[in-house]
Assembly symmetry: C2
Homo-oligomer: 311 residues x 2
Amino acid sequence: MTEAEPASGPGFAAALADAAARTERMLQALLPPTTGDRGEAELAAAMRHAVLNGGKRLRAFLALEAAALFGHTGAGAERAAAAVECLHAYSLVHDDMPCMDDDDLRRGKPTVHRAWNEAAAVLAGDALQTLAFAILAHPDTHPDGEVRARLALRLAEAAGHAGMVGGQALDLAAETAAEATGSTLSAAQVKRLQALKTGALIEFAAEAGAIVAGAAEADVARIRAYARALGEAFQIADDLLDVTGTEAELGKRVGKDAGAGKATFVDILGVEGARARAAALIAEAAAELAPYGARAARLVEAARFVVERRS
Amino acid sequence: MTEAEPASGPGFAAALADAAARTERMLQALLPPTTGDRGEAELAAAMRHAVLNGGKRLRAFLALEAAALFGHTGAGAERAAAAVECLHAYSLVHDDMPCMDDDDLRRGKPTVHRAWNEAAAVLAGDALQTLAFAILAHPDTHPDGEVRARLALRLAEAAGHAGMVGGQALDLAAETAAEATGSTLSAAQVKRLQALKTGALIEFAAEAGAIVAGAAEADVARIRAYARALGEAFQIADDLLDVTGTEAELGKRVGKDAGAGKATFVDILGVEGARARAAALIAEAAAELAPYGARAARLVEAARFVVERRS
């Protein structure tokens, strides 16, 4: 497919916007109010700034669509979607800090440590991570405690030292090594790093929807495999955008990862190689969903969308 | 009671040390190994440095003793104790950062951001919080998912924006206000701030032991009330130590809270008033445990211990 003929059409864009709206309504209800004593009000405002930022809500979409595929369209899936978005937002707030990626802008708005200060960024990120677990473990998410405990455990596995935070640690270490000795990662190392840093939470988002919906284990495994391929395609697209995108489109600095010695798929595969790999991953993701036929059409479109997006 | 005649005797000290040893064995098994790729190994080392630091393990002791009071002495309580210690350690790592309390030493050893760097402190703290939830939500902690989900939810409530992190945000705001305008908090505000910042997690520690042990709701409520009184006494003792302790005893700077315009019980009540309030709280804590008679003797001793401790 070419950029002139997007495979993810207007119907998909509307579905994505609808999922975002549903998730944001749920987030509005779940985030703390910006009232209360000084300090508490500021913490709540920083949490809201970080989460309610006009993101695409791809992870929330995956959770909601995976749940719908197995017949669940209730508040449980919206709560799971909101939890994933809180976890994702926390990681961005901390990653943006001066001691990490040092970014002033996020989707065209000041990052939390710029809008407030570094202490506020630490605390708002911390509280958003906690809130993600509070949402999943609450009886409103699912009447069965086994399901809620499984959701909390799987989020913890996806987000912790053997998942997202581990990937971020690998990324920072690779950057330091590149600056010090010019050493670079192998293709396998970049793939693993990105699978942890970005892939694990994307995979959990889709999985959470399937779990909330009570999908059979074989179906949960299939959804995970789909989301794993989608997640890698997403990261490749991110690396391509860092090379080919514009700051106006992205609302953040571009060309930054390459300059910082960050390990990217584009470094390893080149621009054309990266595009080819992304296309192969979309096909892989679609193949996982083949048993569900037309009912999974939107999830297939989502895989195309992550590669075609311009921001 | 006077400092010359400690009410918590050598039997208590041995029990505290035993609880610490059991919890540390469990933590050794639950923390990630310091092998693996550069970055992952460093993250694991920083997490271990933060948690395995020779602390008194008061929170772990409360979890283990509360579980034992209701007949549970198994691995489930040790896992709950380990989870609380991971959560506590994460909060210390982040609080010690330059943008927060800016401390170089913790129990006489360099803090994580001094031993490594600020990015390592952010990530190690983040991953320790996640690990706490992973431990509680794992089937090894309790066979019943309802129990695991309840533990995760209650930890999230105690640790998040309406608990520990909220208290920390109130504390930083009070400090800023004191520096800018010389304004100080009322006694009620200090009490609430400390109940959130320190009390909520201490309360959860004892509660978690009771929940893992399958205690009746009335007993869980009693244990919480006991731990709430103990937690306030603990914070008053902390404030007294900041005024009366020595750096050698504490392994950290003293006289710092007063100097930084921090809201303390000593400011509000004076040294003698604070000592009297702590004694009243110990009596309150002991009264909650009266129905359990001699079986709760160690928990009663724990309340005395938190006030008598020299570090």
